[in-house]
Symmetry: C2
Subunit: 360 residues, 2 copies
């Protein structure tokens, strides 16, 4: 238990993308200032922040100076290098903790952690070479997905294996990176739960959202998700179990598969999450403010869903259609201030309120 | 009619208080960057803006450089000096226009403008000396309020005259500033309408809010206001009439007195307005985004009230109670990042959703 950070305190954010940008705005609403650290100049978060440090993840001096200027440091992506975290943590508390990061940085560690908690996941096995891959395929069966253990996101670093003869090429494509083989799960839908734990240990979960992906990128989140009351309750219990096991501070995203046998945990993200953007339109306190509250010693806010929402990402050239969206009722637009609409790049999102909250 | 400003354009804001701060956040949501101009270092808006210019209102060079960096310039308060506006307008369009500013900067010009539009106001008369004051009092009657024509806000620069013998002292307190005498209006309540007009000439008004003041400072706005259907419609028509007469671009606040004889216009503010903060919790598009849309060439957004809201200002030391408020349901907190909680200083506000919108 801590006192809240004094008004005007500086919160550091590692990474200056759209998540850092929306975190900075939320921190401002609570009277804090944000300093952004990003290797790229003019990061999106810099337009809405108190200060920006432009320096590499290997620049220990810059990291030290950055952390010294901050009362607490958080991050908007889970692949912050270990050495950078060492430099930061020597000067300021890092929240969520290193443990949450190290668990989620490595798919094998993550799956093992979840299984040890008694949570269901896809079957998995570590794979270092062709021999281990053959054994893993024999155990898990086909089809299966080979993934790098580290640094994968939005479907990158993955190869699906449908036939045994595809196995060698799939492993070769990993270029020697440690890998994990996961069984393909037959699921009826994908949902995610955004949950938070504060410094006093209180836990709260937003209502689960139902996710639709295309090309490995989130396209749409709909709340409420189509779930049974049992599944809804279970999703919150799973998130709470993970938060407590990690003695977590902040917001956590948990992606789940809904199957006839129950909920399976797909992956966890120790940060605010794209599938939680709907909370901006659906709740009094959104995921960004909830995260800042949790890491700054505030009590968690009211995350009750007051409205049903459909969140859609604006990806690449889709952002050109924003003026059409701007005229629609019940729509709120969030653009990220990114210059070039490259294919696959998340340029913004739109929340559309579809009505007052109803229980599905 | 104009095309929307390109993504990434810089919007200049004269004044860096809480209104500029919330405008900057809204501009960011639409993909714009804000540059703040304020004579005081570290203005509240600077924490959530792309850039800050710290220079005086008489610094023509700084104003010129500021305006050159901006695609359009707006303002968060109506008392920007004329010479400063001249310097800015030489380099970038100023929206809302100079006419809106000059009308609202002078109570006599404002009242005359409103009366010329056929709108009801309190009875008023210009007062330059004791002789004119005596004539004005004879015409308007007692009690009456003597106000400076310029630079008054939050009840400053005003003196109530209850007895004829108070008149000389009231005028002497104005220290030679040109003044206006206004009759005291018997009203049942005070309301305000926040309305907007875009570059295409389209007009939209938010539902009126009912205001409660203390010591001349707004304490609370409640929506919906307790009004007849006729009064509600009239409030929107009045706002539209003013917007169109000024060929306005942006958000305008109109304060009205509700009387048994109908609505009287008290004053207009050519900017986002404290009594419109409830729109952050009650509408898909709030007054800050509506203002940015209007000055940046976007269509106006959906300002339909989806929820009933009570907005309360946190004034001076009241901000110390924010942790208590942080635990309440349906409450969203907005702090302004101001260092010292001086008496009368607006430190933040709280929006409390009291339910889905109902028609009163």
């Amino acid at each position: 238990m801590s006192d809240p950070l004094p008004q005007g305190s500086v919160i550091g954010i590692l990474g200056g993308g759209q998540l850092g940008r929306m975190l900075s705005v939320a921190a401002g609403r609570l009277g804090y200032r944000c300093r952004i650290y990003d290797p790229a100049p003019e990061p999106p978060a810099g337009d809405l922040a108190h200060a920006v440090t432009t320096a590499g993840w290997d620049d220990a001096e810059a990291l030290t100076a950055f952390a010294r200027a901050c009362a607490v440091v958080t991050y908007e992506f889970e692949n912050v290098p270990e050495a950078a975290l060492d430099a930061v943590e020597a000067e300021a508390p890092v929240r969520p903790s290193r443990r949450a990061l190290s668990v989620s940085q490595d798919r094998l560690t993550e799956k093992t952690f979840l299984a040890d908690l008694g949570l269901a996941t896809a079957p998995f096995a570590a794979v270092a070479d062709d021999g281990e891959l053959a054994l893993a395929l024999a155990e898990i069966g086909l089809p299966a997905i080979l993934k790098t253990r580290r640094l994968g996101y939005d479907g990158k670093g993955q190869a699906r294996i449908d036939r045994a003869e595809d196995a060698h090429a799939a492993l070769a494509a990993m270029q020697g990176a440690p890998a994990i083989l996961e069984g393909v799960v037959e699921f009826t839908r994908e949902i995610s739960v955004i949950a938070a734990r504060d410094l006093a240990g209180d836990v709260a979960a937003y209502d689960p959202g139902e996710n639709a992906h295309r090309d490995g990128i989130l396209r749409r989140t709909t709340v409420p998700a189509r779930l049974s009351a049992w599944e809804r309750a279970d999703s919150a219990l799973i998130a709470g179990k993970i938060l407590n096991a990690l003695e977590y501070a902040g917001v956590l995203g948990v992606e789940l598969f809904v199957t006839p046998q129950g909920l399976l945990v797909n992956e966890i993200a120790p940060r605010v999450h794209n599938s939680g953007h709907w909370t901006q339109a659906g709740c009094a306190v959104d995921q960004f403010e909830q995260h800042i509250r949790a890491i700054a010693g505030w009590p968690l806010g009211d995350g009750t869903r007051h409205s049903d929402v459909v969140m859609e990402n604006l990806i690449g050239e889709e952002v050109a259609g924003v003026m059409e969206l701007a005229r629609k009722p019940e729509v709120s637009i969030h653009l990220y201030g990114k210059g070039t609409a490259r294919p696959g790049r998340k340029m913004g999102h739109v929340n559309r309120v579809t009505g007052p909250a109803h229980r599905s």
